[in-house]
């Protein structure tokens, strides 16, 4: 079974802190994604990466950055956390389209609260 793990289920940080969210997948997937999930808005793509050291902005990249130094690990960084970044953060991974099943596999999520 594919496994996508996220470093924390719950996280509480203060405004202005630098926050790191880590995601690891064990299926050798090329693609990795970071979403935030908010009630009534569904999932919105923050960043995605299609290879090591490669990244592309999603729909809401402002206030976030990412790092992918190894294929299995994709980190989301909040340079200076703000209260409007309080949300559920979901990581996902997949093979490139056309290679396999085009299915995204999701981690359990990190609920971040910024005070």
């Amino acid at each position: 079974d594919v496994k996508v793990t996220q470093s924390s289920r719950y996280l509480v940080k203060r405004t202005g802190e630098k926050v790191f969210l880590e995601c690891v997948q064990d299926m050798d997937h090329e693609n990795m994604f970071w979403y935030r999930q908010d009630p009534g808005l569904g999932l919105r793509l923050i960043y995605f990466s299609y290879d090591v050291k490669m990244k592309e902005k999603g729909d809401i990249p402002e206030g976030y950055s990412v790092s992918r130094e190894k294929k299995e690990r994709f980190s989301l960084i909040l340079e200076s956390a703000s209260t409007n970044q309080t949300s559920m953060y979901l990581c996902a991974s997949s093979f490139p389209s056309g290679v396999a099943t085009d299915t995204q596999y999701f981690g359990p999520g990190t609920r971040l609260t910024v005070l």
Partner: protein, 115 residues
């Protein structure tokens, strides 16, 4: 650009009754379509998908969805729901403009099955 509309944010239904969750998408090119489900306190998991071929696709737990290109819809149906179907359901689309790798999610529909 892609977008996904799920008109019903909440759908209450009695146990053993039929249900339809509506999904419409906007894209002018060839698409892949997905339904993901999120059970309480869990991550998202794929329920079913349409990539090509038969426009009617089924899941292992009795859900089905039909791709209707002329109406740009991918509605999810189940003839008889169970309590265990209570969850959040997300419709999603990817298309050839982004090589099918980038998936856009709808806002979600919360299905509540009433005993």
């Amino acid at each position: 650009a892609q977008s996904v509309t799920q008109l019903d944010s909440q759908v209450p239904v009695f146990e053993e009754a039929p249900v339809e969750l509506r999904c419409n998408y906007s894209s002018s090119v060839s698409v892949y379509l997905f339904w993901y489900v999120q059970y309480p306190n869990q991550g998202l998991q794929l329920l079913l998908k349409y990539l090509s071929g038969s426009t009617l696709v089924e899941s292992i737990n009795g859900f089905e969805a039909e791709f209707n290109k002329s109406q740009t819809s991918f509605h999810l149906r189940k003839p008889s729901v169970h309590i265990s179907d209570t969850a959040e359901y997300f419709c999603a689309v990817s298309d050839e403009e982004t090589s099918y790798d980038k998936v856009i999610f709808g806002p979600g529909t919360s299905l509540s099955v009433i005993p």
